[in-house]
Symmetry: D3
Subunit: 281 residues, 6 copies
Amino acid sequence: MDTNLLKAILASFLREDIGRGDLTSESIFTPDEIGTAHLVARESFVAAGAARLAAQVFAIQNSAVVTEHAVADGTQVDSGKLLLTVTGPVIDLLKAERVALNLLQRISGIATYTALFVEKVKNYPARICDTRKTTPGLRMIEKYGVVAGGGSNHRFNLADGVLIKDNHIAACGSIAKAVAKVRDKVPHTLRLEVETDTLNQVRECLDCGVDIIMLDNMSVKQMAEAVEIIAGSVIVEASGGIGLANVEEIAKTGVDFISIGALTHSAPACDIGMDWSVSTR
Amino acid sequence: MDTNLLKAILASFLREDIGRGDLTSESIFTPDEIGTAHLVARESFVAAGAARLAAQVFAIQNSAVVTEHAVADGTQVDSGKLLLTVTGPVIDLLKAERVALNLLQRISGIATYTALFVEKVKNYPARICDTRKTTPGLRMIEKYGVVAGGGSNHRFNLADGVLIKDNHIAACGSIAKAVAKVRDKVPHTLRLEVETDTLNQVRECLDCGVDIIMLDNMSVKQMAEAVEIIAGSVIVEASGGIGLANVEEIAKTGVDFISIGALTHSAPACDIGMDWSVSTR
Amino acid sequence: MDTNLLKAILASFLREDIGRGDLTSESIFTPDEIGTAHLVARESFVAAGAARLAAQVFAIQNSAVVTEHAVADGTQVDSGKLLLTVTGPVIDLLKAERVALNLLQRISGIATYTALFVEKVKNYPARICDTRKTTPGLRMIEKYGVVAGGGSNHRFNLADGVLIKDNHIAACGSIAKAVAKVRDKVPHTLRLEVETDTLNQVRECLDCGVDIIMLDNMSVKQMAEAVEIIAGSVIVEASGGIGLANVEEIAKTGVDFISIGALTHSAPACDIGMDWSVSTR
Amino acid sequence: MDTNLLKAILASFLREDIGRGDLTSESIFTPDEIGTAHLVARESFVAAGAARLAAQVFAIQNSAVVTEHAVADGTQVDSGKLLLTVTGPVIDLLKAERVALNLLQRISGIATYTALFVEKVKNYPARICDTRKTTPGLRMIEKYGVVAGGGSNHRFNLADGVLIKDNHIAACGSIAKAVAKVRDKVPHTLRLEVETDTLNQVRECLDCGVDIIMLDNMSVKQMAEAVEIIAGSVIVEASGGIGLANVEEIAKTGVDFISIGALTHSAPACDIGMDWSVSTR
Amino acid sequence: MDTNLLKAILASFLREDIGRGDLTSESIFTPDEIGTAHLVARESFVAAGAARLAAQVFAIQNSAVVTEHAVADGTQVDSGKLLLTVTGPVIDLLKAERVALNLLQRISGIATYTALFVEKVKNYPARICDTRKTTPGLRMIEKYGVVAGGGSNHRFNLADGVLIKDNHIAACGSIAKAVAKVRDKVPHTLRLEVETDTLNQVRECLDCGVDIIMLDNMSVKQMAEAVEIIAGSVIVEASGGIGLANVEEIAKTGVDFISIGALTHSAPACDIGMDWSVSTR
Amino acid sequence: MDTNLLKAILASFLREDIGRGDLTSESIFTPDEIGTAHLVARESFVAAGAARLAAQVFAIQNSAVVTEHAVADGTQVDSGKLLLTVTGPVIDLLKAERVALNLLQRISGIATYTALFVEKVKNYPARICDTRKTTPGLRMIEKYGVVAGGGSNHRFNLADGVLIKDNHIAACGSIAKAVAKVRDKVPHTLRLEVETDTLNQVRECLDCGVDIIMLDNMSVKQMAEAVEIIAGSVIVEASGGIGLANVEEIAKTGVDFISIGALTHSAPACDIGMDWSVSTR
């Protein structure tokens, strides 16, 4: 994540939550009242974003805020664990609190959920990866959470990856024709991925220079056959209907990547609180 | 939701997902190839956002896209139900597909989850409402989902509502002092809410012109006592640790509002697909 | 006013006045020529914005500018009074001068004009407040000036306050129906205000849970009767055609708030100059 | 005024006033309820902005709004005169009303005030022009009002005009040196103006290729002498402390331009109302 | 190129050239004076951007402008050839003229220059591609010109392609270590490219799963040896110091891609004029 | 160039090149690895932009980057000359490298090309100036390069200069009518320029208060006659078809300005490299 881009995104989140000001806090506190607050885990989870997201949110609200003790991304924490300490004007800590917590809870939730999948497949070469099923506006940040949880990223958007789907194939007449058409027009720095529903389609792919074959919504048995057919000649990615219950048996088939939309659209948020020790300078 | 503001937000979501273009689709389709696609429920849920969100996303991508059959917000739909039909250039339908689905799935999820709570309390006067625990960048849209599910909205941000919390009270010395300080400075068009942890605090509030008393993390027994003490003189809002399991007994205490962060931070996404019937003009 | 939002607004004002650069000053001064200038009152008025607006404008133009001696908001100053001292690169002081002065003159003008009204009603409980008749683009800043002058703020925009007017009532059939319809849909954190033209409408309001009754363009006699009818049960706001000539007799009727569009649309600007003591580092 | 730039500015004004929506109107009206409203003069003035500003505001809020009968800029109207008729969704007419009126009242106010000055000098060649003492964010629009009132525009910002002031002169050592330094660096498409306080400075200007001499805060007698000295060789602009009381005698001196900050910072707003004839489609 | 993103970019170009308006044309033409103009080649070249860039510029300035006869991208045209006809308000044609021409001249220049290289290597499998040496702000548009001239695109930016250079290798200790480190962290949808200066480095690459080997600033002889060593196992890209004089002999070595910064930083602009046939409606 | 405006432009260039991050460098370097790099001339040229553009680019990417030894604008440098040294986090130096080089190469190219023209006319009073034929988005920066090369600037955009062309004249019926119409409406701070094709048009201009006469695409003989006719009464600008081959004979005619589009649209980029001395803190 580029810092300048991230700052712009986080600033827009603060703007949404603060509007033209915090009526309550600005009525009560003066800008020179200083406080310290601690972001603390209220349950067990894999932390993500303490330094890169939460601490940044406070710093953007007021560059005079000092942040310390940010727990490292990917750390498994227990309830009560200190995740971040922030010291600065009380008004600004209060203004930034909600955005910082909302982000930390969600992104730690994604890291935690990803880690569960990663753990399930740890004895297999398969890597867990995300999809484009992210929350609109949060793609970069949510994909950061996936990596923090031990997963890896699929393409970021429609412009930095090629995925030929059924519509594209139908429009061209065959996988080979679609692949030829696309290969000719996209940067050679990108791999070319094709979504397949059948073993025949898998075989078609092998004949026409595809770099990645996605096995979409196949049964585990089909996947195993596909992996055998492909025999290591190209990258294999399993996708569709994959959950904690079946991810291990899918990994067992020998696929290289398992892409899971639920990592970002269904990860439960973690419980994190902000404890205060306000003082006056 | 103001349409112009909404359009700007949705356009930024499309920009995130499309980047500088859809390399795959732009390589295969010409702008004059027209198709029709149907957004269809893949499970049962309360629909929200077909017309205001999903249809708008397609229209923003290309104003030539025609949308029809948008199911009304708040409709309980079964698997297989048509939610929206879109007809237009295939390239643009493909570009807008992911953002439209991501939004529809999440906001319908929020409506569905809210409706579960609303159903639980239907025999009581209590209304279910949201909090500021929304996804950064999506507050307006997520709060729209809460209303679609039969809930109501709490304040939108720190600038359009007043909520005096423990920090504020501590800084002023007493609830009465905090209330006086704030009342003097904020628009008279806003109600003044105070967060209370104890019945003594509830009593303090009654003496100083508070408009809404929030009962924060109280036991059901405490809440019942608080409602009795307040006796209808001001609005009562229950908050903290409320789920489907205990919401009904909380409603039974007679509180006016029950605010629940989980409506927006923990609602599971609904399963919605996009079925195609591509054709060439 | 949130500092980050304010900075963005002030930066846009500088951009408007500076364009791609100050052709004259950049031709003559080098960036290392330092100067000091004093913003000084050229007449008597109530100062507002020296620290929060004028000093910020200079700091945004160049963070190396040092500002001192900002007179406190709400201070009554006489001609010759130093309002702010700025020291920094001459080029940047010259670039920021016009925007800083334009703002300080206008906002001090609003504070001064507001203070005149506040003084007139000082023996009555009524508070003077503003309206949405502000200069487009300057609402937050102008409302800040009203508070600096001792007034208070009405709602900020259409989204953070509810005001049911004749059109709304006509569309619903009655005040009671309009109130019911709105109450059901807006956050409970907002008070509900209704604009009334007659005493009958005032009575209607009392029966249906209105929080604030606006007496719009009523005669002083009517207002007095309305106040008697309302008898302290809800907040009363006088509005329409109110000036320095009649504000006191309106306050005498016992209304709680007097809202005056002229505070922001007709306050004369104050005369403020910038005196230089340029020196070379 | 370029239409695209203007639209962006007007849209930002609507965003400020509407926020995330009109809570009241959106609770009561559906998007298909159509109404007609008439913007009507409530006093006599010179109208400006009915077509270019007010009508545009409504069109930006919703392109389905139809506007008619816009009175031409510069028209002297009496109380009761129809300035603009708007027909469209009631919700959008209500949302755009305040911004449209605020602009129309202010810009017509500027046109009216300018016209008073223009009338005073109608028997002399002098033209009335504005300054940079405009409301931050409204410069383009306010300068449009000056032209509508019969005045003309001075430079728009620091980048499209050259004005050498006392600071610049002091830094260079003499007017001649300052002029030489600036002339060498700025586009030859711009005239070069120098601010003078004394007749000696006027004489200095004549020797060094100045295009416009500003007579700043001079007495009428001094101005007359300056005009005689200059004898038509360059453009002469009077500035500083000019009001309706003395503008004619200044014009009598033979100056070419009279620049007046009050045109934009002190023009009283005009009284304009919006009368409704709501109907349902 | 996504149309919405492109429109935003083109609109910013118009804003730069028009500022707050076209003082000259707005003084002379009324908005209802219609004209027709023809963009015509003044020399021979490969056209690019008539429909996607120039026509769009006019349409953005005023959606009422009708554009016709856009010559197809990649067409070799002779002097006198009509490239585009535009009909609409004269004011808007004049406002958009310069931006439309500047773009068309530059992008056609890039297409023309690219086509020269493509022609040189037409008997070899090598494809000509661009680099990141584009004009800041114009990358998407310039890369569009490269494709129009028959070339192909390298990565768009630092986020959608991986290129391991000497610094990266030095920091890791070896190519193998650098590749391992990067491969683990970037999406599997991207190919991994390594810049090599020596044949030893080329051999190192073959052992560690590199997808593309860049031969940077090698002699033609070295390149030929590298191609032989690589023997078709991965993609080979020649780069550095390549011009029209030596591109053919480089293609002859059998490399797959030849990347040339000069395509975008040194292509001479084409001469294109705009001929008018103004008429009044 | 105003620093704040420039920073915003440069930041957008970085955003274009970096996207959401530098996948390669962020995979390899940690933020605390510090390096030093030297921007060095690889050929002879006139340097422009080392301090104002390149150094700023690095500082915007990370304010912790220290820049030193920026060669002064307009300096004639030989191959090997150090232009700028930058020290800071390696990640940020790598991220900013390409934008900094692209700008420095182009703007130095413009300065160098301009200096060639300036040298050709050094024995004549004529000044070399630019046009609006700049790269879209880079006008301010490219015009800065022209000045660094010893040239001067023509108007910046359509709003800060007046140029009456054949279309305008045709629409009005005569030069005199066009001039009268425009003069009446534009700020008196702007000179009025008219484009002429014939000596008759030149004579027409002299009768109607034109400030600058552009001799467009005239032969050298015609230009000489025009200069004689004008006889120093107004500024004379030669334009159209001017290159290094004929600029001196045009200067010899006595024109005051020679405007050349090629300065910005056809200046070859200079060769500049970035040499590294990476170290770990």
